[in-house]
Symmetry: C3
Subunit: 298 residues, 3 copies
């Protein structure tokens, strides 16, 4: 990559891609994952009714990616639990976040400057996990690029993808919501990363792995910090998504509409229904659309 070498960053980038994630970056990942768990409705109640269910739920949040990638590759899903060092670290953080007197630990971590710091560090682990997943899958399936992307994605964003089952451990079941139906920013950025690293691994991208890790990490860290700082909740990819969506899945509507206007045929209504509720509709809007439809159906 020219940018990196012209800036004289080659050495720095090499060293950056070799930093050990344990213990500090992993710690940030565990802290943020379990903080997010604590913010779920009912989680604190579960923590006091059944510490074991809460602990298992917390571990699924921390190691969900590794577990899901193991399942996809036909490896023992219990393997992440054989890494005592990381499990103990995650358990200590889980204990501090849920049971620390006066909720001190959670409040400290939730304080804006420290949250910014933790969120930034957590994002550093993302690229590493994706790369680990991509390399593992690529060593088995040389040409199965779809499987390689899937494993990279699962490793990087697994806790989101298995959220339904993590909730089930806590006695919560929300089938109408999952990460495929309404992707969060983290899941989206991990998918993009998985695609990039897979293409890099298959030599379709003119960039070394070290440089890609560095650039991708810079991008996700800065985006995440900006999102936490300015309290942004919508995805920064929204305009790109809308464009892509219209290009791939919605161009039929335009042709339909003109057809509809000229012919006013009977098929118009069916097609019109199919083209409503595009990807960029805000949740509230699409909810109200659904409610209206339900009323109609009655």
């Amino acid at each position: 990559m020219d940018i990196v070498s012209t800036l004289g960053l080659t050495n720095f980038v090499m060293q950056f891609s070799r930093i050990s994630m344990y213990p500090f970056f992993d710690m940030a990942h565990y802290t943020l994952s379990i903080m997010k768990l604590k913010e779920q409705p009912g989680a604190v109640d579960v923590a006091h009714r059944s510490p074991i269910a809460c602990w298992f739920s917390g571990m699924l949040c921390c190691f969900g990616g590794a577990i899901l990638a193991s399942v996809l590759l036909g490896e023992p899903p219990i393997e992440p639990f054989t890494n005592n060092r990381n499990i103990i670290l995650a358990s200590v953080i889980w204990y501090l976040i849920f049971y620390c007197p006066y909720d001190k630990f959670y409040k400290c971590c939730n304080f804006l400057p420290s949250k910014l710091f933790i969120a930034g560090m957590k994002e550093v682990t993302r690229a590493r996990k994706i790369v680990a997943g991509v390399m593992d899958a690529h060593s088995r399936y040389r040409n199965g690029w779809l499987a390689v992307i899937a494993v990279g994605w699962a490793k990087g964003a697994g806790s989101g993808l298995i959220a339904n089952f993590e909730q089930l451990v806590r006695g919560v079941w929300i089938p109408e919501r999952n990460e495929l139906l309404r992707m969060s920013y983290g899941t989206k950025v991990t998918l993009i990363g998985a695609v990039l690293f897979t293409f890099q691994q298959m030599n379709y991208l003119p960039i070394t792995r070290h440089n890609l890790i560095f650039l991708y990490t810079m991008f996700v860290v800065s985006t995440k910090v900006a999102m936490v700082l300015f309290n942004i909740h919508h995805s920064p990819f929204a305009p790109m998504e809308v464009a892509l969506y219209h290009m791939a899945f919605s161009w039929q509507c335009t042709s339909t509409e003109s057809h509809f206007q000229t012919e006013a045929s009977n098929t118009g209504e069916t097609l019109g229904t199919q083209c409503s509720a595009p990807l960029d509709a805000s949740p509230e809007e699409s909810e109200s659309i659904k409610r209206r439809r339900a009323k109609k159906a009655e």
Copy 2:
């Protein structure tokens, strides 16, 4: 098998059992699977809200059997996704069925003569899948005939058996309905096929594999075509099932009833309740029975 050789079909049967399923027969299977998906309530809405969830759901419909068989045999469930050729074919068909302008592709396929043709071709793939599953499982578990039947069944009718989880991807959850509680015709005929091919594989049936594939395929194709043509929805096995059910699971009732008539004992009611709602009751009937019971319970 005498019938085949006396009819001078030996050569034809050998060639028939070697026809490649790719691309035409596979195409028919993908088309029918995704058409069935599109007919599910809410599927078109999901296709427009989240193409990724819809695509994944479609792939589960197309490759559900291979995925379930992989899971049962402890192999990576991602393996079907390493077959780029088939995945791309299925994805193209998924795209055409869900997003083709004016719904042209779906309407063409749903036109009775083409639907008949597609349904017939799809059934040809069934025998092949069952045989593949049976042979794979038999090479590992020489004597575990139950496991061999299960893998053959899973490979042939997997998308039905995992329907609950396929629906979950689309945000739909209907726990009270599954293929084991109320089997569809496809699931039943696959189970019978899995039993037959397992017995053939274990040399309990005096017939060669080629002939069995041919005869089984003829049977399922003709039955399916007849069902589509005459719009039959009930299973052609119903009389056999009822007989089998009464022989195995309901003979107690007869003895109970005579007992009931002669003694009019207190145990009568309990036993009577157990013997009602036989397998051949229509869904509506058994629903009304349930409702009445629920009222009684109140």
Copy 3:
């Protein structure tokens, strides 16, 4: 272990740890598991509507531990079904319990003296299963004691841990209840056993495996028999649990309360809420607490 050798029981204990579980002890396990299944609301109805779903559900109750342990270790979950001998035995018992005329078999087994006998025999299998799981996992993960405990626990109490999915087969879905949220006695005692056998396997306990199997089995058999005899439903570990719970997860409350009394600060209410509903609250109590909270929330 001194007790055993001083009592001159060494030989007896060695022989005891070598008794074959097949057929009598396994039979007791299958009988009790399927009797428990039959007592579930709706199970008898499913048995008459869909014998296949009922049979599969029964097999999940009998072999749930082996299946869950296989899944955790990345082995084929179908492996328990390759053991024809045990599957046929379990199927015969399933048939007798659900379809025996006049419900004779179930009534015989449910008669107090025979139930005592069966329950005692079933508990003998528990230790063996835990040991099998622990040894299998320990041979792969030398130092992963957490994974070893998990596999031992899964093997010994698997049917409880996968109960949600066993219910799904019967069309029942109760997400708010699972064995992690509210552990049954069997699950708890298996967890304790898994911890003990893991420590023994890792040479942290000054006792031979034979002796531990003997002592653990004596303990679980006598406790279970006492529970059946005197119709005890609460866990005999309750006092220990409460003490442990207060030591580990509730000491913050005490400090909070004193803090609350002296300062009457604003944070008091939040912390008070967190400390209510301790582990030893009876189900009814905690239900009423929940209901009251729900009302408040409205």
